[in-house]
Symmetry: D2
Subunit: 336 residues, 4 copies
């Protein structure tokens, strides 16, 4: 049994992580933290958990957390996460960081996109990016994992096989993504009110979304050359799910069959990636850790379409998948 | 007072046309038709109209319709529409055709995309495309208008100013569109059930949607050269609204200000096109005949974003706008 | 042409009032007010209005408003409304008050339910309740009208005919109402966030909702004896619409036909009340000023079911209906 | 390991049962049946299951099913279910019947409400009603369990403690229930289309819904006297969840605290019933096997409010709970 703590337990990714861990035969949740001074019962913050988890949210120091847990899931916002993680690691915890803090390799890129100085720059570039489908061997034995962003996972899973093979060009890639509202978190923002989002579809962060450098960094590493993307996220009037439609320029006349075949080979042994013939729907992946991906050839472009549940494979499910690797549980434990 | 008939009155575009016409001081609805043998009261088909319109849906011949109306809005499916329209015209009616039948210029292109022989090929290429923002002078005095498709209007309004000026290249244009479910009509299809669409976002018709040749034909005419697009429609779990994100390659280093300025000039006197600074939301145009459009420069691409209500400016509102032009009412009558 | 002002123009009822008035041939909107010191253009607060209304929201005194308008729609919250209305009336304006301030007759009942002292108690009991279907003759010639609450309108329209006739008993009436979220206004409350309301149906304010005394007061007046109700509102994951299911005890063995017949007689000349055979749906009344109502006899109870659009007949549509009566426009102007 | 079959595997309750069983360490799904002659892979019917379950839907006889499974979950419609179950039982299977076939005790009542002759009337009255919270001891050791209806579970859980104690009167009970659309199943019905249900709240089956006799039968048994209810179901524009607001007449002046206390005592050892202080929301129970219930005293009535997920505790979760009892797995296996 592994004792686990959730740091920053008020939000949606924390709730989802708790719900998954409640099914995990090897995990015992021993601490939930909040940065507020109140000490609410978890069921008053998340009524879903009434009768299922009897813990209070506490304002604990990193040292106090480390005394209660062998593994910490950090659901804190960026910066707040990296301010606490060094202590946790020094105290012997393993950490799965769901924030963006350890995803980028370069502290200056982090500062440019997130607008703050990185609190722990030495670990950047040395922390594995927690996408087991690409980097499993780096995660094994690590003490800290940077859990991927939701949009990046959806884009990377679709494009990595083709970039790796150099079947598509590394520039001119258009990534048009659509996400449900839970990806924006639980904060009170006018555009996230029911009466503002209902029947309201819109783009946001066009050309300036923080997941852009993350996508480019990972795809560049896979491609072995600089990859350049145009990334446009959209907000869909729904709760969960991301679908990413990406347009890339093939380097030769590949058929749809060849592309799907290559994707299938690439993900042959991956338990959570499904290369499908039909056009996937976010519902297919809802409440599960699966990604569905397909491809079409349209005129002189390859159109890839991928989807996942932003709170599961895009956040908490991937985090538990990483936890399973770190603590040597079967990788799909609690994820079926 | 102009007597008007709605042909094919059971569907969503018919209902929307009726609701708009009920506010029109110059229009009197005198006939509603159906191809079924039943003769239901309109309020049993559209409960919204109880107490507002006292007519029955009738299976009328084109001759019978022509006796009752000076203008006919055809909400029939493609082919069925063009089978009846020649008679209506011969009988002296003016017709606004909301089907796709008279939008394409070439009968062979029609047959290739719609899978049926065109019943009235002679009128193709001579029927004005009912987008007054581009072709108002052709609509004035016409007896038949081809009301544009919903996706095409959203794409054309955004791209026409830039293609006209040759500020973007005519090839490599990516049109990524997202539509609410009312665009698919009222037929009983499994994927349109509430429990299948709710929380379900998906692409469909990738590379093969029938609006593709319509978009290319109109944009080619505007550009004065062949325009080639990759068009991907998506279904959004909402009822109304289309948002189109288009990616095009500029022919020089234009700034966002230049592009928005050019759009503003292009639509300077248009009552229903709004060039906006912020990112538009389908809610902004819901239940109205307005289009909102903006542009961003992202790396080496121009990203245009446009939205409208697929049932209003994308169908019935545009139809009434065309009706107003045909019958010399102020163009915004009943559309404010 | 009547010059009108909207006081408190940032919210949903203000937007809806504006949209209706834009279609009103006799109304010219000349002022929009806000209690904030900023002076935003109306299109930045309500993007729907871009290109349709060119006004700024201004922090105007009652005197300043009175100089610009002959009629004021107050969309301010309770108390704030009654603090300004006496001055408007003294300056010669007519006022339709969409707040709850002048609905109750007794200042002590107001204070008990709203928790504040009434700023203008003398007018209570002398201000007509703006439900023309019951009190039209009081509204004609008035200078101030108390626009009804949304839940009360839905309940009163269904029960008034039966109480008037003494066909149901005045006690033991269960009113189980369900409303879309726009009824809660535009304020940032956690339970109104998309991800909290989506798929979330709940009761609220059980036994303590402020519309209870309003319903009882009006029904008691209609019945000519004290009417006592149990009122339970619920929040539905939708934007607009109220449906009220009420259970009352008949005083004799009435049939469904008798009850519907009585309702039809009662509302015979009412343009906006539809007594229907089938079970009404909130969609039937959406975006319209209509109420649909029906009744069923189930065992020893009469079940009445009524619905309306909370923002139209439940607020802004009723307000314009009252405006039409005050200024002698045809009562359905702009409401078709 | 128990081999299980799902009979009638195309619908929503079948899918939900499969998803729960995939997490059950003691259950192996060995057969999925359909009454159609096609033999589709389960992933083509339920794309969610791609990569998770590799079975085909087969048109199997009861004998064939019995050869493959020790336990059968019947998700067939009423009548079809009872036509097959006798054979399954004769072949030695245990059966959890999710249809309504074995819930009512009296074949004539069944025939009156379901409009068909019961195919297996001898078992009526002798089959345990699968609500373990009330009838666990009857389920233990049974070979057939009648899984309760979704509305009945929501109503019975709230009212049983009070009727048992005779704290409320057995007549004049108003049960006003609201359900998401998945309760209506997957069939193509116009009112279940997205564009008809979105923003559409309505009552249906007023006074004539088939769950009425089921509720009355179970509550009468609990009360030890005839219980009479007025039951009004409503359709909510959401996918999952039932909330039931019930109004009953207390037999003495009980306080809210007394009522909640009595409910807590009644369900003290029940793992899936949560008696809560606050007003429950369908979201609290979504995707879980929990029921939340509370009570308020309003004037001379007790208002109880209860909610659950219609597909889990209202169907498939309860079915697996019954399966766990039948096969002596811990009752909450796969349900956490």
């Amino acid at each position: 049994m592994t004792r686990v703590a959730i740091m920053g337990a008020t939000g949606y990714t924390a709730l989802e992580t708790i719900l998954i861990l409640l099914r995990h035969p090897g995990a015992e949740i021993t601490a939930l933290t909040t940065r507020s001074e109140e000490r609410p019962h978890v069921s008053s913050v998340h009524p879903q958990l009434a009768g299922r988890l009897d813990l209070f949210l506490e304002n604990l120091s990193a040292q106090e957390i480390a005394q209660r847990a062998e593994c910490v899931f950090s659901c804190l916002p960026h910066k707040a996460s990296a301010e606490r993680i060094p202590t946790l690691l020094a105290e012997g915890c393993k950490v799965v960081d769901l924030s963006a803090d350890y995803r980028l390799n370069d502290p200056q890129v982090f500062e440019a996109w997130y607008g703050v100085k990185h609190p722990d720059p030495e670990r950047l570039g040395r922390t594995p990016y927690g996408l087991p489908e690409l980097f499993r061997e780096r995660i094994v034995g690590a003490d800290l994992v940077a859990n991927p962003g939701c949009y990046p996972t959806s884009a990377i899973v679709a494009l990595a096989p083709l970039l790796k093979k150099k079947w598509i060009r590394p520039e001119g890639i258009i990534i048009d993504s659509k996400s449900g509202a839970s990806g924006a978190g639980k904060s009170l923002k006018p555009h996230l009110m029911y009466c503002e989002l209902n029947e309201g579809f819109s783009a946001y962060g066009v050309g300036v979304h923080r997941h852009t450098p993350e996508i480019e960094q990972v795809l560049s590493e896979v491609a072995g050359e600089k990859v350049d993307v145009i990334f446009t996220p959209h907000l869909v009037p729904m709760e969960r799910g991301i679908l990413t439609t990406a347009y890339s320029i093939p380097t030769a006349d590949f058929t749809q069959e060849q592309i799907l075949g290559e994707m299938r080979d690439f993900y042959e042994n991956e338990p959570f990636v499904r290369v499908v013939e039909g056009l996937p729907n976010t519902r297919d992946c809802r409440n599960s850790n699966y990604v569905s991906v397909t491809a079409r050839v349209v005129k002189d472009r390859i159109v890839t379409i991928s989807c996942l549940d932003n709170l599961v494979k895009g956040a908490s499910g991937a985090a538990v998948q990483n936890f399973n690797i770190l603590f040597e549980y079967p990788e799909n434990t609690a994820l079926l």
